[in-house]
Amino acid sequence: MKEFFLVIIVAMIFLVIFQISKASEYVSVLKGEEKSRKQNNKINGFLMVAFLVLGLIGVWYCNELYYGKTLFPQGSASVEGEQVDLMLYITIGVTGVIFVITQVLLFWFAFKYQEKEGQKAYFFPHNNKLELLWTTVPAIFLTVLVVFGLKNWFKFTNDAPKNSVLVEITGHQFAWDMRYPGKDGVLGKKSYKLYNQPLGNTLGVDFEDPESWDDLHTTVMHLPVDKPVKLVINAMDVIHDVGLSHFRMKMDAVPGIPTTMWFTPQYTTEEMKVRTGNPNFVYEISCDQMCGKGHFSMRGVIVVESEADYNKWLASQKPEYFTLHPEKNPGGNNQAVDSTQSAPIAIAVPKSN
């Protein structure tokens, strides 16, 4: 019923506007079209400058309202992301100045040079100096932004540091799975053809490969703080995307084409709870590439913790090989406990590459 009345009301408003518009056209014919055109011109000229002023106030007000909700106040949770924030600030600064100047000129000129009695337009078809000026100045600004951007781009896309923690993350409709290489630091071989739902081998790990025997399979990603981490990214079915907005990182997960990404977390989850003032804070992995009807729910969680806690967690995990083949586990859980003593995992090229 409410909707019905809403439709009626909207229709009435339409009718009123329509009638007023028609009437105003008759009035303008009676008054003389030239005269009413000039009146309209004045009104719209005024609205131009009003729009400019209110618009700029609106821009400021919007910033007041929403700046606090962006990721700027909490800062980047990764070392590399700080460069992204710096670049953002510089780019906002440069484009902000150009934005204000050009919008002010646009609406101010429109207001100032509105049609007036006796005013003549100035015949000004071209001026090479001016045109050269606004070709070169933007070019110089852009060069600076490009140089700065590419420096970071090459840093981010370069190989991960040698001491990185290696984690494999695999996306499928609609969840994430992680694999840790275990104490040998090497991920066991994998093939999509070995996928076997009934046997629990959902990632298609090749358990013939001894290097896979100590690999861990988890659904939450744990990471030590202040150490670079390298993600090897896979997808089982369609394209997904590992979106880590707190770390300012993002990379597609493409079936058949493994990708990589690295960054260095600099705050633990607990520290971020304080920084953001949100006691429920978690690092979330959002899927950022449209992947089907559950795309919006494809959420993963990262726990960043101290290295000691991280190692303790690693130790508490049972390798997938023994979960799936309990008969092969000679020492019960002892095997896993050993890994507490193991040195931090060294980087290695994953076999799936």
């Binding site: 518009s21 309202l65 990721l71 609406f107 429109a110 590419l150 493409v254 058949g256 449209m290 009807k293």
Partner: protein
């Protein structure tokens, strides 16, 4: 048919002086309004079809904005309309994604490509270059009817049981290739691809015709450098379309093969819904290259006509020549060339080779230079003018404002290191809606208000035009400006619901506000549609040949030009189109010979 042949002959052989032009056709309803070969009628067909599509595409956005603005509310009336797609009054995720996909497809291709350049290229090219019709009126007619066929197929896909395509308007495989991965990737996706193939044929037929006509059929004295900027823009638009649409066609056909014939162009190493697929060796990324090789020029196909028309309208209503005509042409050319060299900036986070990525950063940010030239030239055109705020002029000014706002955020996204963070967030939505969506719509509205008198011999209602403009520009900024902030918070695109996300759920209030404004803006577009159709039959009559005091040739035709455009001879052109305010004269039409005492400038 014979009448067409005689028309063509008269164009070819006499060109001028064919006085039998007035009374030679015996036109039936079918030949005049349906299978018409008159470029002006075809333009009107494109425009009205485009308007119908725009209402549908806009309505879709209103429906999915309901879900985004009010995620916890149910709307029982939605179930009345949409059936099982809105069970219990709540939009189903599958259908939400179908709506998002169709909104994009419809507005990008059916409205802002066919509706925009289809309308104005058809309408303005012959009229402004001084030709009686297109080089091939027959192909031109086919271009519309292929578009119509594409429209029918796309419309049909909305009604199939498994729903229309729902993998986003970019239809990336494997999602779009595998029916098991998404119900929208079943028959709906085949229909989408077939419809697009028809659409591409339409676009190619149109584009070849536009290029041929502009190059070969200009009237005496109309050198290329005397063409109005609208024609230059439409020319480059057609070139872009002809060179890039075939690449999308190849992508669409390969995808059809992958879907139906078991090939593996885009598929490899896939386990979907518990089933190991036999496909091996394909690359999902290859499709993205093929798609964006069209997809990026496409955004300029959408934008250039709006630029051209705004340039013309700004100049006419400032009563001043466009500033830096040659720079405007050169920057259109530069944009046209660069448009082909930047496609991979949509793919920075696909695992693209970083070196290749860096080249695309460089070329992408280079586009800012011709864009800056255009903006400053438009500003200088306004400077010291004598500005008349017709509704068309308001929309042209609005176009410049939006082009600046949306263009500047392109500098963020084109810089790959920043794109890593902003890619596929609401920042991207804000960017391309402002610069390509709303700005091009403003260019289109400007064109409709400006040339409506020539199209229908009547004016649109001014008051409704002013209301339309002010609500639309304020509303557009209110909708899209705050989205930048959502993007800077990392909020991803194409999410049906954010309430389970600790990182993104704080924007609930803003999303509701945006949805509310979107509904108001949509309602005001309906006001425009009412104005449009009412004014076709009941609008104020045009009483003078040249109501805006413009220089270009279309205003030398009769108020309601017949097929063939000019009675008697096609006028000869003696100067460029922008002699406004020269030597103290308010305007000097292109057909006026250069006087002996005239100052030399141009």
């Amino acid at each position: 048919m014979s009448s067409t042949i005689s028309l063509q002959e008269s164009v070819l052989h006499t060109g001028h002086a064919d006085e039998h032009h007035e009374h030679h056709h015996h036109e039936t309803f079918i030949s005049k309004y349906v299978f018409s070969q008159d470029h002006k009628m075809i333009a009107r067909q494109f425009l009205i079809t485009g308007i119908i599509w725009a209402i549908i595409g806009g309505l879709f956005s209103v429906i999915f904005r309901l879900q985004l603005g009010y995620p916890n509310q149910s709307f029982p009336w939605l179930e009345d309309f949409l059936g099982h797609w809105a069970k219990g009054g709540k939009l189903q995720p599958e259908f939400y994604y179908a709506l998002v996909t169709m909104h994009g497809t419809i507005l990008v291709f059916f409205v802002l490509t066919a509706g925009l350049s289809g309308t104005f290229a058809n309408f303005l090219i012959p009229l402004q270059i001084g030709a009686r019709d297109m080089a091939s009126p027959m192909l031109n007619m086919l271009s519309y009817w292929f578009f119509f066929l594409a429209s029918v197929i796309m419309m049909a896909s909305l009604f199939v049981q498994t729903g229309p395509a729902s993998g986003g308007w970019t239809v990336y495989p494997p999602l779009s290739a595998l029916g098991e991965a998404s119900s929208g990737s079943k028959i709906g996706m085949d229909l989408w691809l077939v419809s697009m193939a028809m659409f591409i044929v339409s676009s190619l037929l149109g584009g070849l015709n536009y290029i041929t006509t502009i190059l070969n059929m200009r009237t005496k004295g109309m050198t290329m450098t005397r063409l109005p900027l609208t024609i230059w823009a439409l020319f480059f638009t057609a070139v872009l379309g002809v060179l890039s649409f075939p690449v999308l066609l190849s992508g669409a056909i390969l995808l059809l093969f992958d879907r139906n014939l078991g090939t593996s162009f885009f598929l490899s190493d896939i386990v979907v819904a518990g089933k190991i697929l036999p496909n091996e060796g394909g690359s999902a990324i290859l499709f993205q290259h093929l798609f964006w090789f069209l997809g990026h020029p496409e955004v300029y196909i959408i934008l250039l006509p709006a630029m051209g028309m705004s340039s013309e309208i700004l100049s006419v209503n400032s009563r001043k020549p466009i500033f830096g005509y040659m720079a405007m042409v050169a920057s259109l050319f530069a944009i046209c060339v660069l448009a082909f060299l930047v496609w991979a900036h949509h793919m920075f986070v696909t695992g693209l080779n970083p070196f290749l990525g860096s080249i695309f950063v460089l070329l992408t940010l280079l586009i800012a230079v011709p864009s800056a030239i255009k903006v400053f030239n438009w500003l200088t055109t306004l400077w010291r003018g004598n500005i008349r705020f017709t509704p068309a002029m308001l929309f042209a000014i609005g176009f410049v404002s939006l082009f600046i706002s949306g263009g500047l955020t392109g500098i963020f996204l084109g810089n790959s290191a920043l794109d890593i963070h902003l890619h596929d967030t609401y920042f991207v939505i804000a960017h391309f809606h402002i610069v390509m969506g709303v700005a091009s719509f403003f260019g289109m509205f400007a064109g409709v208000y400006h040339w409506f008198p020539k199209m229908f011999g009547r004016y649109l209602n001014n008051t409704m035009g002013y209301i339309h403009f002010w609500v639309t520009i304020i509303g557009s900024y209110l909708i899209f400006w705050p989205m930048h902030y959502e993007g800077l918070a990392g909020m991803p695109r194409r999410y049906y619901d954010f309430s389970n996300w600790e990182s993104f759920k704080m924007f609930g209030g803003l999303n509701e506000f945006i949805s509310l404004v979107a509904m108001i803006v949509f309602a005001v577009q309906l006001l425009f549609v009412i104005n449009f159709f009412y004014s076709i039959w009941k609008g104020r009559r045009v009483t003078t040949e040249n109501p805006w005091g413009a220089n270009t040739l279309e205003w030398t035709t009769p108020i309601r030009p017949g097929h063939g455009n000019w009675k008697g001879e096609i006028p000869e052109v003696h100067r460029w189109a922008y002699d406004y305010g020269k030597d103290g004269k308010e305007f000097i039409t292109q057909t006026t010979p250069v006087g002996a005492d005239e100052s030399k400038d141009h």
